[in-house]
Symmetry: C2
Subunit: 174 residues, 2 copies
Amino acid sequence: MTTQGLVMINTGHGKGKTTAAFGQALRAAGQGLKVCIIQFIKGETKTGEALALASAFPGQVELHLAGTGFTWKQDMETVKAAALAGWQLAREKISSDAYDLIVLDELTYLIGFGILTEEEVIALFRERPQRLHLVITGRDAGQGLIEYADLVTEMRAIKHPFQQGIKAQKGIEF
Amino acid sequence: MTTQGLVMINTGHGKGKTTAAFGQALRAAGQGLKVCIIQFIKGETKTGEALALASAFPGQVELHLAGTGFTWKQDMETVKAAALAGWQLAREKISSDAYDLIVLDELTYLIGFGILTEEEVIALFRERPQRLHLVITGRDAGQGLIEYADLVTEMRAIKHPFQQGIKAQKGIEF
């Protein structure tokens, strides 16, 4: 059976986009696939799921933080430089043919901020090795990306605890 | 800081409900929390994420398959007996105060099939230890459960590869 790499997108304004992407990475790792995760927005702090995957699957799951945290205190040039370095890394990883699944976490924001165009992103995806699955997360995935993808899920917030004044808790929110 | 256990629901007809729940379990495990997962519908076959979590966190993440696979070849009594045994196990695990997070995967179907009532499910949740977080997955979560929950996310399918004739692949779909 030939593997047909799928392009999967988790979008929408609800929770679970990144969490589901990590769940997908976990599933893939559990079946012996090689996984690379690039997080575009997040800064230095490693989340519980990142720590867990990295320690549970050394040599099989790779994690890169390409973001600066994206706070409003940073000037746009710093944010942009980090994002472009992350995108360069994504290019290398995608072309390397060393992975079965690559997660590009929060990639859509780079398009939203005008750092990348949807066209260049799709062009890279088209050139990828046939077996390579991609998972893209982030709000407001554009129409071109949605049309190109094989699987698109929208996470819609019906209810969120922060709206009710409950604080973020370790192991749950991060 | 006192931990306030949250009730989180992943519902809707899209993909990612169980995957996000496993991502949440991974996150929690990565932060050192104790996790128990009960899968109500799935039968004997262990998925990639289940295999991965169980092997990566022995003694910290526990997995129980309480389902029969729920195929239409089975009579309703067999399905019901397995579901009720799973529910009894859930009662014990929830009351034990031995976990920080319990995932009740596909629990909503038990309510949908009339095996459990929403009232008895919510009653058990109300009595749980204060620190205990719960993640519930499954389509068509009822209004009572949604009102009781802290966080509710609907996964909506915008596009699905099975609609396009692409087969389920190991490490991606299971």
